[in-house]
């Protein structure tokens, strides 16, 4: 055991220090190759200019390499596969895409995904923001935050078990072991099979993701909130603004960039998330979403890589508007720089 701990420690230290060594060393090396200290006049300036050309790439280098290997290459591979047959061996043109357009389930998934996109990012961001703001100024705020954060930390399987027990249905008149039906029944209503009510079941599934992801929004937004200069809030207080007005008119606009980040991230997450649907309904009762459909085609019963890849590409294309919006934001921010 101790041996293992030591070797683990060693691995950790090696791994991390290797990374640190790269950045430090690469920068050092650059300074050595193109020295700017101790060199006279224009030579130093020339060297500095060279440094300026190279250094961004030193900073970006590892990220770019890793991104290329781990994400860009697979994307290209995916794009390639989306024009191939199920085994990925023969070229089939756009057949996979044509199939997708004609597929009822695919269209269902697109529709549902729109629902998800409309609800989940907004809800998570909103709740996350409200919680971040409220907990920010009370002494037990950190503890409260921990409770909101917990769902995020609970492994997904654990979470799905408990939501099962929330939506669980037992026949009319029986003891309900699902919280929701127990409540409904205690108010004299008839228990429902929540996750099988078409259309509405989407929302019951969304609730789960909202429950989980609000913690995410909360953490990031509370970090951002802490960065708001207090003075502006003080000024607004003096201007007579009440809590709500300060929140909406002073705080929210100032962390708008972060809100956009959170929103974008959750939007993308929604596009990718499939485990909730998979474990709760597996897309039955009209609750299919794209990511689950993709997973289904990729891996179920040996899989059809072509179609899976085609759906994956559709998911990626869906992000383009978000991408454009973000780039706009980014260039606006940096416009002054």
């Amino acid at each position: 055991m101790t041996g293992q701990i030591i070797s683990a420690l060693l691995t950790v230290v090696l791994g991390v220090s290797g990374c640190v060594a790269y950045f430090w060393g690469a920068n050092r090396l650059l300074d050595l190759i193109f020295p700017s200290h101790g060199v006279q006049g224009s030579a130093a300036i020339d060297n500095l200019r060279r440094q300026g050309l190279i250094r961004p790439w030193l900073f970006l280098g590892p990220a770019l390499i890793i991104l290329t290997i781990y994400l860009v290459y697979p994307v290209i591979e995916t794009a390639r596969l989306s024009f191939m047959d199920r085994g990925g061996q023969n070229f089939v043109g756009t057949a996979n895409y044509q199939w997708a357009i004609g597929d009822r389930e695919f269209r269902q998934a697109i529709f549902n995904n729109f629902l998800w996109l409309a609800v989940v990012p907004a809800a998570c961001t909103f709740f996350g923001l409200v919680i971040a703001v409220l907990t920010d100024r009370i002494w037990w705020g950190n503890i409260a935050k921990m409770f909101i954060f917990m769902p995020l930390a609970i492994s997904f399987v654990g979470a799905s078990v408990i939501w099962k027990f929330i939506y669980e249905y037992r026949g009319v008149g029986q003891t309900q072991i699902g919280v929701l039906n127990a409540i409904v029944q205690s108010f004299g209503g008839d228990p429902q099979v929540w996750i099988s009510i078409p259309f509405w079941n989407n929302f019951f599934l969304m609730v789960i993701l909202i429950w989980i992801q609000t913690g995410f929004a909360m953490v990031i937004l509370s970090a951002a909130l802490r960065g708001i200069p207090d003075e502006t809030i003080e000024a607004a207080t003096i201007d007579g603004a009440n809590g709500f007005q300060i929140f909406w008119k002073i705080m929210v606009p100032q962390i708008w960039g972060t809100i956009a980040v959170v929103w974008t991230t959750i939007t993308i997450l929604v596009l990718k998330v499939f485990d909730i649907v998979l474990t709760m309904t597996n897309g039955q009762w009209n609750s299919q979403v794209l990511a689950n459909l993709m997973f289904d085609w990729m891996f179920r019963g040996g899989g059809d890589f072509g179609r899976g890849a085609a759906i994956a590409i559709v998911i990626m294309l869906a992000v383009i508007p978000i991408m454009i919006w973000n780039i706009r934001n980014a260039t606006r921010e940096t416009g002054g720089h």
Binding site: A63, G227, I233, M323
Partner: protein, 384 residues
């Protein structure tokens, strides 16, 4: 600002009450997991977890002892015994002999079973069955009863999970995977984010776009091409394909787009004058990054660290694929998962593992919380 003078009653308590309400709503499901993890499987499936907290009426059944336990008393044959175990805390309220009507008779009264046979079951579970004729057969009378069951919890699930073989090793495996897989992407992403936010070079906007685009790449799509690559590299160099380095890089890769995206947006928002001031002080980009940007980015670094840690910690798929699923390489989630039966009905184990895995991320969350400092930039610039 923390010191702003008084607020009204509503403002003072309203926030507390509102937060409390939200916390309660949010915690109910989590509480459900906690309670479920302390119950045994049968209970989980038959009664709502919230009922576990209170005394509830539950039905049970027992059987009188067989005929050979009978004694003859005053001309009647009597079988006496107890339906409940010695340390059973249940209190019997009513009983019956037909399964369709288990609450026919009140506890403590004698029920007439016909043919002169009577049966009395008392609250403590003791029963006495008497008959004018001798009992036959060695399977006794089935007795159904309804008993008040006090809350019953078991730490058995935790014991099962915590003392399962190899859990310590997988815990260390998990840490070995998680710690570098958290720190490495932070470093790499922070450098990249700084470059994307504050350095001038051609193609910056495009790179930002690409990063956002890569956020959406589904993990599942990358696994096969990557593993192929790993195997290729592995065979080429004659090293095993599944190594810690491999999984760190994999997690780094999957975490990077978000990290860069998040960090860049934060770093770009730092006051420009501070950066300029450092530049004038002669600091190079590297020094500015290390001495100014990193310390000022602690809040966002901490929040990213929390998430990356969490994702890696709770990840199973990537670990299985890139580290392997042998018992030596199993990470904690993998190990806990292996405790579940093949058909996955072990909710008590599931909920228990959920609670065990939650602890480390919570510690991380709490210890990184303090980097969410208020007014980090206060006093640095005037105006704005």
């Amino acid at each position: 600002m923390a010191a702003t003078a008084g607020k009204g009653f509503a403002a003072r308590w309203g926030v507390h009450i509102a937060v409390l309400l939200i916390v309660i709503v949010w915690t109910i499901p989590t509480l459900g997991i906690l309670v479920s993890s302390l119950r045994d499987r049968d209970q989980i499936a038959v009664s709502g977890w919230w009922t576990a907290l209170t005394t509830s009426a539950q039905t049970g059944q027992g059987r009188t002892e067989g005929a050979d336990a009978q004694v003859e008393q005053n001309g009647r044959f009597v079988i006496a015994g107890n339906l409940l175990e010695e340390d059973d805390a249940r209190v019997i309220r009513s009983f019956g002999t037909r399964i369709q009507n288990p609450t026919e008779h009140e506890a403590g009264t004698a029920a007439d079973l016909g043919d002169g046979v009577t049966l009395q079951v008392n609250e403590d579970g003791s029963y006495e069955q008497s008959s004018p004729t001798a009992f036959e057969g060695n399977r006794g009378q089935r007795i159904f009863f309804e008993a008040a069951t006090p809350p019953r919890f078991t730490t058995e699930n935790y014991r099962t999970v915590l003392f399962s073989e190899g859990i310590g090793r997988s815990f260390i495996n998990s840490l070995t995977v998680t710690i570098p897989a958290t720190i490495i992407p932070i470093l790499i992403a922070a450098f990249a984010a700084y470059a994307l936010a504050w350095m001038k070079f051609p193609g910056r906007a495009i790179l930002i776009a690409v990063v956002i685009g890569l956020l959406v790449v589904p993990l599942q799509m990358s696994l096969i091409p990557l593993l192929k690559l790993y195997n290729g590299v592995g065979t080429f160099f004659g090293v095993p394909a599944k190594t810690y380095l491999g999984i760190w890089l994999a997690h780094t890769g999957f975490g990077l787009p978000f990290a860069i995206y998040l960090l860049r947006s934060y770093i770009a928002g730092l006051p420009r004058e501070i950066m300029e001031s450092a530049r004038i002080d002669g600091a190079s980009d590297f020094e500015i990054f290390v001495k100014i940007v990193l310390p000022l980015s602690f809040p966002v670094l901490a929040s990213f660290a929390i998430f990356q840690f969490l994702w890696v910690w709770n990840d199973l798929l990537v670990a299985m694929v890139f580290l392997g699923s042998g018992s030596n390489q199993l990470v904690l989630t993998g190990k806990l998962n292996a405790l579940l039966g093949s058909r996955g009905g072990d909710w008590e184990i599931l909920t228990t593992s959920a609670f065990i895995t939650i602890i480390v991320p919570l510690i991380v969350f709490f210890s990184l919380q303090r980097y969410f400092v208020r007014g980090l930039l206060a006093g640095s610039v005037k105006g704005g």
